[in-house]
């Protein structure tokens, strides 16, 4: 280790975490040097297998960032290459040495763009500064993953998490899951957008939205960055309503842009705003949830519920999810992969519901074919709204893959 005297006046920066029970991350500290090239001190759990590869990668990243002389100390807990790149870049930037340059990891193939009305039953939250959960998140088959830059990331780590999330969007295969990012409130959120929009996320969650203007601001920023980067695929928005005012303005927020695909709500902040306790039964948020569900349908966007916080209580989650579906929500968040399957079960129509709906849809199609204005099933006439509900239910069941054999 160089002594302090030698390094005085030279810039240094560090990023990442190591030690204790940290896995799949690394701690990087970098010190500027006047000459002597790059010197790397590596302490890695995987040194025997990837020591050479890590040293080479660090050199490549530093070269891309324009660093020629530096001392780099790394403690590595088995981080994957996209994490190493992000941490080295974060340390360099914190040292004030990056000079506007980036070092992007090798990209996986970009999945097809997502449809505005795609299934969004489950969205799995991944804390944006915890890389160990990223790589296998898609295997658990949520409808979406959310790389979170907001509440799960400490303020001091926002800039490092932003690079990690950027690299993950680029280098991690999330399977069929829609790739969502929850950004910070503006103006911090603008810096998030600068890094992540070029990596083509499918949807941006906007926190603590209270006015339609907040949505318009995001649309403007997203469009400008996308245009600058030649990006031509849809990036949907999901405003999160987390205050009494936000709930009151729900309809205008949902209508603020045709980019809004869904609205959702955050109950921790909402109950805090009301100054009431958040209970398991949720009576205090019933109005807000009903308002969001109704508003979403009025604005022709999806209604997405909050999360269920008790991971150990799968029965409670199932009941919450079923009640949520009954209120008109189409999905909710999950904070652990074991919640995904339960949520999918909760938001699926029951076999009896589906069978009945299929009969009605069959009768409707028969009536259409015969040019009849009245749909009847046996001796019973079916009202138009009943037909509409059946059509919606069958369409959603098809999206879930429930109409031709189920999944286990």
């Amino acid at each position: 280790m160089p002594v302090a005297v030698e390094t005085s006046g030279l810039r240094r920066g560090e990023a990442g975490r190591a030690g204790g029970d940290v896995r799949s991350d690394l701690h990087v500290s970098i010190e500027e040097r006047a000459s002597g090239g790059i010197e790397i001190d590596l302490h890695s759990r995987v040194d025997i297998y990837y020591g050479g590869s890590i040293r080479q990668q660090v050199r490549d990243v530093l070269q891309a960032l324009g660093i020629e002389h530096a001392y780099v100390d790394i403690v590595d807990e088995g981080a994957l290459p996209f994490v190493i790149a992000a941490r080295v870049e974060a340390a360099v930037r914190r040292a004030g040495l990056a000079d506007g340059k980036s070092a992007l990891p090798e990209a996986v193939e970009l999945p097809p763009p997502s449809a505005k009305d795609r299934l969004r039953r489950s969205r799995l939250y991944l804390p944006g500064n915890e890389p160990k959960y990223f790589i296998n998140a898609g295997l658990h088959a949520p409808d979406a993953i959310i790389l979170d830059l907001e509440d799960s990331v400490h303020f001091a780590e926002k800039n490092a998490a932003r690079l990690l999330v950027r690299n993950a969007l680029r280098a991690v295969d999330f399977g069929a899951a829609e790739r969502m990012v929850r950004i910070n409130q503006l103006p911090l959120g603008l810096m998030d957008l600068e890094e992540i929009i070029p990596q083509a996320p499918d949807l941006i969650l906007i926190p603590k939205v209270e006015t339609p203007e907040q949505v318009s601001d995001i649309v403007g920023a997203v469009d400008a960055i996308a245009k600058r980067n030649g990006l031509n695929r849809p990036i949907w928005l999901m405003p999160i309503l987390e205050s009494a005012l936000g709930i009151e303005n729900a309809f205008h927020i949902a209508q603020a842009s045709d980019r809004v695909a869904a609205i959702t709500l955050g109950l921790e902040d909402y109950t805090a705003d009301l100054g009431v306790a958040k209970t398991a039964a949720g009576a205090e948020s019933l109005y807000a949830r009903m308002r969001v569900a109704n508003t979403a349908h009025a604005a022709h966007v999806q209604a997405i519920d909050s999360v269920y916080g008790d991971v150990a209580d799968s029965d409670g989650l199932l009941r919450w999810g079923e009640a949520s579906r009954a209120m008109g929500f189409q999905g909710m968040g999950c904070i652990h992969p074991i919640q995904i399957e339960i949520i999918h079960r909760a938001f699926a129509p029951t076999t009896a519901e589906l069978e009945k709906a299929l009969l009605i849809v069959g009768a409707y199609e028969e009536a259409q074919a015969q040019g009849l204005g009245v749909v009847s099933l046996g001796a019973k006439m079916i009202d138009a709204p009943v037909v509409q509900r059946a059509l919606k239910l069958v369409a959603r069941a098809k999206q879930m893959g429930l109409t031709s054999g189920g999944e286990s």
Binding site: R45, V46, D47, I48, V75, G78, L80, I338, S408
Partner: protein
């Protein structure tokens, strides 16, 4: 002598170079799963006479030193212990330290497994009291051996292989020191009662039958008769009463916990689905699962599926935990054939439920017998450190060559109707599926299924299994496909560790032949994760 230079190496039937001589004894290289057919008669214990034992049956002596002296302890003897007290054991170390204090040299320690609490045996090896260890080694003992510091070669055997080696006369035990949670003055001993209760004492059974001298050490002397007598006093020479044979908190865990790791839960769920969808989960089936996180979660998922399908298992083999006990109590399984008892609920169950049976490596695992239970099991769910594209698997060494685990019952369980290795596809960036495993512990022809979070690979030799799960919606993939995907994620193939051409231990197959060699480790990575515990 330098063990590597003095031993000629031969290439065995899996293409591995193995020593022809180990610790002065001629070896048979591995000849294939069924290649080696032994002849002759089993080793026989010495004939004894009642005239030399007290007619009142009281075999107590004041202390371990007295017992060892009466057993004729001398230089070069082989001392054995069992590992049912796991990391709480006090007896094995005390026995060796007592022997060292008595001034003997060059002992061979022959435990059924070693644990981190026995680290001080290193001092005994340095001082010359202990020559070498024949038994599982990991943690500091494993590192001592892997770095070539041990004077003799380590010999790693499965639980069944240990019985085979004793019964076939490959290992002669001079003195067996058996820690007993309950015993009477005649030497009848039981593991399921007392403050240090550990459940089964099955690993000590061979030692009690074949050793020249047998000492039972207990902290719970009960009036004759000690019921049930898992160890028969008729095989026992001396009984020693001590204050404590071990630390109960480390002998059994209070509660065994199911993993909360999403990836491990996914693997467990896939394994349970595989058993259900392949039809292996049928009325009257049987399975084996251990006490690891994945295995426990697997049992939990399988139990739900068994209930939903109204299917019951006839028996379950292996390490027992609360989860298996619950299934027994619910009537979902007929019997637990217990090899090791891992938690308090299981210890209580084995003590009072006649359907929860203590078994031994003789009944469950021994390959040189008239069959064993392990091969009668429909499916066994096991772990591994590495597996190669030919399904050969490693369970004893880390990818860097260091000794990591004992073999335990792992090799023996490969003979189940369907052997499943359930493992994450990479750990700490290190891919688990490799071109060639560091140490072959199980030949690929016996390994049927590799279940990872990225999909399930079925051995092409098992077309029946491939057919059985076709169209069932399981993520069935080729092992090469999973390997390629993981190498891409991890940033290429891992580099191989540098190993010296000096054998430090051998891995025995279940029939006593030499399956592979553990080579001396060169590089020491001070930041490598510590390895600890386990058989």
């Amino acid at each position: 002598m330098s063990i590597g230079v003095a031993t000629g190496l031969v290439t065995n039937a899996v293409g591995r170079r193995v020593p022809g001589m180990v610790n002065g004894r001629q070896q048979v290289p591995y000849e294939g799963v069924d290649g080696h057919r032994p002849t002759g008669r089993k080793a026989g214990p010495l004939i004894r006479s009642n005239s030399d034992y007290p007619t009142n049956g009281d075999k107590r002596v004041p202390d371990l030193e007295a017992a060892l002296r009466l057993c004729g302890l001398r230089d070069g003897m082989t001392i054995s212990n069992h590992h049912h007290l796991r990391n709480g054991d006090l007896v094995a170390l005390t026995a060796l330290q007592t022997a060292a204090r008595m001034g003997v040299k060059d002992l061979v320690w022959f435990p059924s497994a070693s644990f981190p609490c026995q680290e001080p045996v290193i001092e005994l090896m340095k001082s010359g009291a202990v020559h070498h260890i024949e038994g599982s080694m990991n943690g500091p003992l494993g590192d001592y051996c892997a770095h070539g510091h041990m004077r003799g070669m380590g010999v790693l055997r499965s639980h069944g292989g240990r019985w085979q080696a004793v019964q076939d006369g490959e290992v002669h035990i001079d003195i067996a020191v058996i820690a007993a949670p309950a015993a009477d003055c005649f030497g009848n001993a039981d593991g399921s009662h007392g403050k240090s209760a550990c459940g089964s004492l099955g690993f000590a059974l061979a030692d009690s039958i074949y050793a020249d001298r047998v000492i039972v050490v207990t902290d719970n002397l009960v009036p004759f008769p000690c019921i049930p007598w898992q160890i028969q006093g008729n095989n026992v020479d001396y009984v020693v009463e001590v204050d404590s044979i071990g630390d109960p908190s480390k002998i059994v865990s209070g509660t065994t916990q199911i993993t909360r790791s999403p990836d491990r839960l996914r693997i467990s769920h896939l394994v349970a689905r595989f058993l259900r969808d392949s039809g292996i989960m049928h009325e009257g089936f049987s399975f084996q699962a251990g006490a690891g996180g994945i295995a426990l979660a697997f049992v939990d998922y399988l139990a739900h599926m068994m209930k939903a399908a109204n299917v019951k298992a006839s028996f379950v083999r292996g390490g027992s935990t609360k989860y298996l006990v619950d299934l027994l109590n619910e009537g979902l399984i007929g019997y637990i054939l217990d090899g090791q008892t891992f938690d308090l609920d299981a210890v209580r169950s084995i003590a009072r439920d006649p359907r929860h049976v203590a078994t031994s490596p003789f009944t469950s695992y021994n390959f040189h017998g008239k069959g064993n239970f392990a091969s009668m099991v429909d499916a066994a769910v096991l772990g591994a450190t590495e597996v190669d594209v030919n399904f050969n698997a490693n369970v004893v060494t880390h990818s860097d060559g260091r000794l990591l685990h004992g073999i335990g019952g792992w090799q023996n369980c490969l003979f189940a109707g369907c052997s499943i290795l359930a493992l994450p596809s990479f750990r700490d960036r290190i891919p688990v599926i490799v071109d060639e495993v560091t140490t072959i512990t199980g030949p690929g022809e016996l390994i049927d299924v590799i279940a990872t979070e990225r999909g399930i690979a079925i051995n092409p030799l098992r077309q029946d299994l491939l057919d059985a799960v076709k169209g069932k919606g399981l993520p069935i993939r080729s092992i090469e496909e999973i390997k390629t995907e993981v190498e891409k994620i991890c940033g290429g193939k891992p580099a191989k560790p540098r190993l010296l051409d000096n054998p430090v231990a051998v891995v025995k197959w279940v029939d006593g032949t030499v399956l592979d060699t553990v080579w001396q480790v060169v590089d020491d990575n001070p930041y490598a994760p510590k390895v600890s515990g386990g058989e």
